[in-house]
């Protein structure tokens, strides 16, 4: 290959260099490039606005142009977007991911150990469920997001629980103080369910295959130590713990609404807001709807911890994450934005905007005043964020490896087991059915 240096080429290069050096530096709005973000479209009106304001604040400071899309999880639109972007290796730079998505799309995500190490140092540790879902082989796949993360603990009717079950939930979980819930066990829960059912105010736990049903049932399975698959991927469904859990559910389901197997994620909310239910398992969105539509119900609601089973007290926790695709064209800006959104001041703004619904996953951020101040009644959300670390936050189907657990969760294997056994199938037959399903989930 020969390089002919002509006089014309030298002149051209000299002119170009002069122009470049002499050009004034314009610090434009896009000086640091642009990124696009796919956030989860919040249920709570106004919550998206807080996120937008935070992003705009960051964008102005960092001189990055940001395009935001709020993607609903209704009809699995967010899930489909994630699947499509992972497949096409193109799309947003940052995307909101629900529970199982980071593990499912691990190969397409940029590791965020640098962000997580700094955030944990600053905001405190994250619970085991966040680590289980967001970290693989020492690699952080995504950053736990405040927006969308939730605990689906019991939301009880103070009056109905007191009147029919003789349980004072406010005394058990006093606002501003640690819980006094040693007697709040699965046996007490069962007796309360029976008493409320007889009074025509059944406790509303769904037994369908949607998230609310699976989460509630999964937490109770954990309380019995009834793991279907262990952390190494071995099928452990044929155990006494599972038999015990099934037996317990057989007794409990008799006191739940008869249509519980057909419930979806809206059913329990309606059950509480209509005034029919003495308790449901849900984040405070049902209470927020009641505050608007049925204030007399809302002022009797109290969110608190789960009952304790033989193997511990487990509360259903569903964290959302912010993932950065490894095909992102501006990873530095994406990391900077995610870090900014995880700062305590940003977190508090998001939690306040969501009326206390959103939950930060870092231990130093679970005692924000918003939960203590929420009303009516005053302190109704105090225990929502698990401020006293009273219960182990867990997700149904754990500790199975996430790729297997995801299928157990999505297929609602635990709720199906409960319904099959309740409808008359022997425990052994139900367990055999579950074992066969689980074998099918072991594909690689």
């Amino acid at each position: 290959m020969t390089h002919n240096v002509t006089r014309r080429r030298v002149t051209k290069t000299a002119l170009a260099s002069t122009a470049l050096v002499g050009m004034p530096f314009v610090h434009g709005a896009r000086a640091a490039g642009s990124i696009s973000v796919g956030f989860w479209d919040h249920w709570v009106p106004g919550a998206n606005k807080a996120t937008t304001e935070l992003v705009n604040e960051w964008a102005a400071k960092e001189k990055v142009e940001v395009k935001i899309d709020y993607i609903t999880s209704q009809g699995n639109k967010l899930l489909l977007t994630i699947a499509a972007e992972a497949q096409a290796k193109s799309g947003h730079d940052i995307i909101a991911m629900a529970t199982w998505d980071p593990a499912d799309k691990a190969d397409a995500l940029e590791p965020v150990n640098d962000i997580m190490d700094a955030l944990i140092k600053q905001n405190g540790t994250v619970n085991g469920t966040v680590e289980y879902l967001g970290k693989q082989g020492g690699k952080w796949l995504a950053v736990p997001a405040t927006v969308g993360s939730q605990i689906k603990g019991p939301c009880s009717r103070i009056d109905l629980m007191k009147k029919h079950a003789g349980i004072d939930v406010q005394a058990m979980y006093p606002a501003g103080s640690p819980p006094k819930a040693d007697d709040w066990t699965y046996d007490t829960f069962l007796k309360a369910a029976e008493a409320c059912h007889k009074a025509g105010h059944s406790i509303g736990i769904g037994l369908g295959t949607t998230s609310d049903s699976v989460d509630s049932v999964g937490a109770i399975f954990h309380g019995f130590g009834a793991d279907l698959v262990d952390a190494k991927g071995n099928i452990t469904v044929k155990s006494d713990n599972v038999r015990q859990a099934l037996d317990y559910f057989k007794r409990l389901v008799a006191f739940l609404p008869p249509d519980a197997p057909a419930w979806d994620d809206a059913s329990n909310n309606k059950w509480l807001v209509s005034g029919r239910g003495a308790m449901i398992m849900n984040p405070p969105s049902a209470w927020a709807v009641a505050k608007r539509d049925a204030p007399q119900v809302a002022e009797q609601c109290w969110t608190h911890g789960m009952a304790k089973g033989p193997k511990g007290r487990f509360g259903p926790f569903l964290p959302f994450f912010w993932g950065i695709w490894n095909f992102s064209k501006n990873k530095a800006a994406a990391k900077s934005l995610v870090t900014f959104l995880s700062q305590p001041s940003s977190v508090e703004k998001m939690v306040v905007a969501s009326g206390g619904y959103d939950l930060p996953s870092f231990s130093k951020l679970t005692t924000l005043p918003v939960w203590a101040n929420a009303e009516p009644p005053k302190g109704t959300l105090y225990h929502y964020a698990n401020p006293h670390d009273h219960q182990t936050l867990s997700i149904a189907a754990a500790p199975a490896p996430p790729k297997i657990a995801q299928q157990i969760y999505r297929q609602g294997v635990q709720t199906k087991m409960v319904v099959r056994h309740f409808q008359g199938e022997s425990a052994e037959k139900t367990i055999a059915w579950a074992a066969s399903e689980l074998e099918g989930f072991m594909r690689t």
Partner: protein
């Protein structure tokens, strides 16, 4: 028109290469192809490519890194839930199509016998279920069947009848999804049959009446043979669409209770997208393709044969 215009241009240009190009452009088929090209492009991009890609996906392992041939299908054949889905899809599609065809046939006759002045109103009203997007109308049905607040159950309660678990019991749930599918799909049969009825020559009925044919004989020996092709095509089309149904089941029962209302599309979505096993989901959705293709081939061959005979 195109032939003439292009032909003139062809005589002006004499050079060999350009002449053959002009000759090509002279052909009606070339013009037709060029005019259809935008549509062909859309079909290739949105139908052919996804279809081939899903075939490719169905041959990969779960993590989509390895070719497994028919491995996904052999895996599916060993799953109890898969055969439950096959059974349900058949029950769903066949029952729904039979009832849609029957109701469509009867209603088409009713509408056909309405004086032409008021017929348009009836046709319009009867088409409403088919015109509304199914996801929306199914939401309305969901409220009617709501587990706790069913409007139907409220009416039944007025007569002292116990509530029906419309979506909570396996059999009632199957009934509910089929009912909604019939409600949405019957107007399509009705309008197709109505068009076919209108094309039956009146003289045939007159001749049958002169021969003393009864009402039933007129239907059996005149109407049905004259509508045979349209019945076959409508049934085939509806069968394919009903087998591929997604929205009704997804909105109404999401496949529950205990997977007893899943059809291929909803289970493919559950396994592929929600369960993170895209190749298996692709295999589930492709399972019916050869069966439906064979059915389509037989039905279309029959129609062509009858067309040639005519």
């Amino acid at each position: 028109m195109a032939d003439i215009a292009v032909s003139r241009a062809g005589t002006v240009n004499g050079a060999g290469g350009r002449t053959s190009l002009h000759r090509l452009m002279q052909r009606k088929s070339t013009v037709a192809f060029l005019m259809a090209l935008p549509l062909i492009t859309v079909i290739v991009l949105l139908v052919v490519y996804p279809a081939i890609y899903s075939l490719h996906l169905a041959t990969l392992n779960k993590s989509m890194e390895r070719f497994v041939g028919f491995g996904n299908f052999t895996f599916l054949f060993g799953r109890e839930t898969f055969w439950l889905v096959v059974k349900q899809s058949c029950i769903f599609a066949i029952t729904a199509v039979v009832f849609k065809a029957l109701i469509g046939f009867v209603v088409a006759h009713f509408v056909h016998n309405i004086p032409s002045k008021g017929q348009r109103k009836w046709r319009g009203m009867l088409l409403v279920p088919w015109v509304i997007p199914p996801a929306m109308s199914t939401l309305a049905w969901l409220w009617l069947f709501d587990p706790s607040y069913s409007a139907f159950n409220w009416i039944l309660a007025l007569f002292g009848i116990d509530p029906v678990p419309w979506t909570g019991d396996a059999y009632w749930a199957r009934f509910s999804v089929i009912l909604v599918n019939i409600w949405i799909g019957a107007p399509f049969f009705m309008i197709m049959y109505l068009a076919a009825l209108k094309s039956v020559p009146e003289q045939l009925y007159e001749a049958a009446a002169i021969d003393g044919a009864t009402w039933w004989q007129r239907i059996w020996y005149v109407t049905l043979p004259m509508m045979r092709n349209i019945i076959a095509i409508t049934t085939l089309f509806s069968l394919i669409v009903t087998f591929a149904n997604f929205d009704i089941v997804r909105v109404l029962t999401a496949g529950g209770p205990l997977d007893h209302t899943h059809v291929f599309a909803t289970w493919a979505f559950r396994v592929g997208i929600e369960g993170g096993d895209i190749p298996l989901g692709a295999s589930v959705s492709l399972f019916m393709v050869p069966i439906l293709a064979v059915a389509a081939w037989f039905i279309l061959r029959d129609i062509t044969k009858r067309g040639n005979e005519a």
